[in-house]
Point group: C2
Chain length 384, copies 2
C-alpha cells in the first residue's frame, strides 16, 4: 500500500446554521482545503453524514456536495456510520490513495440538524442503536450512556462528580477554539448543579448536537512532497464493529470495537498507546471518554475516570484530550465529528493550537464511535 | 493496484418481505457467498443501502448486518448514493482489495421498503433529487423521467409505444428468473393499455420498489486462484457524478455521469463498448435505459430507443439487457440494484442463465444510476 498524507484542512464553525444547507456547509469546509489547487485534480470525494436521510435533509449528499462545491463530475461517495461516519469515510479516502487509484482525495464530514422541529432529530439519532430492539422502546444513546455510567460507578466505586473533569476540560479548551460552539469555561460545581437529563448525566455532562462541516485533503507521498511543508502521515487506519445492541454484549463496560480498531491502527503504525501524545475520542459524556480511554489502553479497567481527576487529560497531561473542545464544547456534529477531530489534531501536529497546544506533539490518535461503540474508526497521525 | 476477482454471489428473492428486517435479508444473501470459508477471513464488509435512514429502518447498517450475519467485529461500512448505492459500494470493496488492505471483502446491497405506510417511502425516494429545489415542490424521479421521455419523443419524433419493448424484454427475461418479483411476460399492447402514472409513463413502464438483498464476495488474485474454478475479474471500476438538480443541466437528455463513468471504466479495462456482450443498466423506465445506452455509446443520440424496436436488447441481440428482468421485472431494490445487476452478470459469465443466457458471454458491463443519473457507477466484468 502507498503512504497517505494530510495536506489540507478546513472547517466551518460549529453552530446553529439555520440559513445554510448541508451541502453549502460542506462546500465551505472543502474550499479552504484546496488552496491554489484546481478542483479537477481531486480524484474522489468522500462525504460523511449520519442524519441526512433520517431527517429528510438530502440523500446522495456526495453528488449534492460536489454540485455545491463546483467540483463538477467528481467521483463522490456518501458514508454513514452514525457518529463514526467521519472516521469510516476517512478510511475509505485513505484506501483510495493507498490503492493507487487516486493521488488527491477530499473527505468532508457534514451534519445539519438544528432546523428539524418535530421530534425527527431524536428519532433519527435513536436509529444508530438497534432500531428493532432498542429504539422502538424509546431508548436513546444518552439513556444508554447513563446506564453505563451508573454501572461503572457501582462496579468501581465512583461518584458522578468524578466524571465532571471531562466536560470541564472540554470547555476550558473550547474557550480557546474560535470554531467551537461553546467558548466559555465551566466548573465542576456547575456540572454537578446542572439540570438532570438522564440520571446520573446532567445537562453539562452532555454534548449538544449542532451543525457544521470539516474537511481534509489527502495526497499520495509524491504529491504531498510538492504541496506541503508540514506533512502529516496517516500511519494507521482501522475500523471495527461491535454488536448493534448493547444488551448483546457480555461485558457492556468494555468497548470492544474501540479496543480492536485502536490496537489494529497502532499495530499498523508500529506504535504503542504510550507513544500517543495527543488524542481525540468520542466524548459526548465523560463516561464515553472514560470507556474509550480504557478500551485503547490509556488506562486500566476501572481507572479511566482517574485520568480526569489527575489532570492527565489536560493539554499539559499525559493523555491530552479534547484540545479543541471535544464533542462537549466544540459541539457534537455527529457524522462530522471524526473529521473535526482530525482537523484539530492536524492543528496540534503543526504546532498551531495556541493556548491548548500540547508541547512538541508529533504523534496523535483520533477515534470516533458510532452509537454506543457499535462502529469504531481509529487513525494514527504522525508529523513528518 | 492489485487485480480483484468476484469469487462468490448470493441473493434473496425480490419480494415483499414483510416478516424480515433489512439486516436479516442482507445476512441471508451474504451467507451463500461464503461457501466453506470462515466469516473471520472476511477483511471488510460494505453495505449498500439507500433508504434505511429516510424510512427510519436502521442506521449504522454496516454493523447491523455484521451482527445479523454473525460476522462479529468485522470492519463494516455503509454506502449511500440512492439507486447507485450498490455500484458505489462495489467500487469501495474493489479499492479495499486493490489497495492490498484486504484479501477478501464482501459487499451486500439491501433495501427494505414495503412495510412503510405513511408516505415516507415517496418522501424518502424524492430525497435522491435536489431536496431544496425539486423535492420540496413534490417532484419525484418518476415525474422527471416522464418529462425526459416527453422531451425525447418531441426532439427525435417517437411515440410512447416505441419504448414498450424495454418492459416487454424485462418481463420476458424475468419470467425465467426464480428470484424476480414478476415472473410473467407482458405484451406491447398491455404496456400501452396500462393505467397512466406520469404521462407518458404508464404503470407497466414503471418499476416496482420492493425488498431484497444481493451480495458479492471479492478476492485478491492469489486467493481467487485457490477458491474458484470460474473466476470473474473486475477489469474496470469508475464512479462519476452530475449536477444534483435536473434543471442545472445544459442538455437534460445527456446523462453525463453515465457517459463519463462508463468511458473511464472501459478505458481502465482496455475495452470498447463494442466489446461488451451483456449489460445491466438502471432501467426503471424504458427512457432510463435508452438514455443510458446512448450515454455509454451503445447507440447514437436519438437512436437508443431503436435498440428496443430491433430486438438488440433481447438475449440474442447485440446489446442484451436486463437478462434477469432488470429493475422492471426483477424488481426495483433501489440501493441493492447495483449488486443484483452484478449477481446476474456473474450468472451470465458462468453460463448459468438458462433461457436468458447470452451465448458465449465473456465480457459484461454493469451500470447503476442514483436519481436521474446524478451518481453513476460502472463496472466491467471479464470471465477468465
Amino acid at each position: 500500500m502507498r503512504q497517505v498524507y494530510i495536506v489540507g484542512t478546513g472547517q466551518t464553525p460549529v453552530a446553529e446554521h439555520w440559513d445554510r444547507t448541508a451541502a453549502s456547509l460542506a462546500a465551505e469546509a472543502l474550499a479552504s482545503t484546496l488552496g491554489p489547487l484546481a478542483p479537477a485534480r481531486v480524484g474522489a470525494l468522500y462525504v460523511a453524514n449520519a442524519l441526512g436521510g433520517a431527517l429528510g435533509v438530502q440523500s446522495q449528499l456526495g453528488a449534492a456536495v460536489a454540485t455545491a462545491a463546483g467540483w463538477y463530475g467528481v467521483d463522490a461517495t456518501t458514508i454513514e456510520a452514525a457518529g463514526a461516519s467521519g472516521g469510516v469515510a476517512l478510511r475509505q479516502a485513505y484506501l483510495a490513495i493507498a490503492s493507487g487509484a487516486c493521488d488527491l482525495v477530499a473527505v468532508v464530514g457534514v451534519e445539519k440538524v438544528t432546523d428539524v422541529l418535530d421530534g425527527r432529530l431524536e428519532a433519527g439519532l435513536a436509529l444508530s442503536g438497534d432500531a428493532d430492539w432498542e429504539g422502538i422502546h424509546g431508548v436513546t444513546a444518552t439513556a444508554q450512556w447513563a446506564m453505563l455510567m451508573r454501572r461503572y460507578m457501582h462496579q468501581y466505586g465512583y461518584e458522578a462528580a468524578d466524571f465532571a473533569p471531562f466536560p470541564v476540560n472540554a470547555h476550558a479548551n473550547g474557550a480557546t477554539n474560535a470554531s467551537a460552539l461553546y467558548r466559555f469555561p465551566i466548573s465542576v460545581d456547575k456540572v454537578r448543579a446542572a439540570t438532570m437529563v438522564a440520571d446520573p448525566l446532567g445537562v453539562l455532562d452532555c454534548s449538544t448536537v449542532a451543525d457544521g462541516a470539516a474537511a481534509l485533503l489527502l495526497a499520495s507521498e509524491g504529491l504531498a512532497r510538492e504541496l506541503s511543508s508540514v506533512r502529516i502521515r496517516i500511519a494507521g487506519s482501522a475500523v471495527a464493529t461491535d454488536t448493534l445492541a448493547l444488551h448483546s454484549r457480555p461485558d457492556p463496560l468494555r468497548l470492544d470495537a474501540a479496543a480492536r480498531s485502536s490496537s489494529a491502527a497502532l499495530r499498523q503504525a508500529g506504535l504503542l498507546f504510550s507513544d500517543i501524545q495527543v488524542l481525540e475520542l468520542t466524548d459526548p459524556h465523560g463516561i464515553s471518554a472514560v470507556l474509550a480511554l480504557e478500551a485503547c489502553g490509556f488506562a486500566e479497567r476501572g481507572a479511566g475516570v482517574q485520568c480526569g481527576r489527575e489532570g492527565a487529560i489536560t493539554p499539559g497531561g499525559a493523555t491530552p484530550l479534547a484540545t479543541g473542545g471535544g464533542c462537549k464544547a466544540r459541539g457534537d456534529t455527529v457524522g462530522a465529528n471524526g473529521i473535526y477531530q482530525v482537523v484539530e489534531l492536524a492543528r496540534q501536529l503543526r504546532g498551531e493550537a495556541g493556548k491548548a497546544q500540547v508541547s512538541g506533539a508529533q504523534v496523535a490518535l483520533a477515534q470516533c464511535l458510532g452509537g454506543i461503540g457499535v462502529t469504531a474508526a481509529t487513525h494514527i497521525l504522525l508529523a513528518e
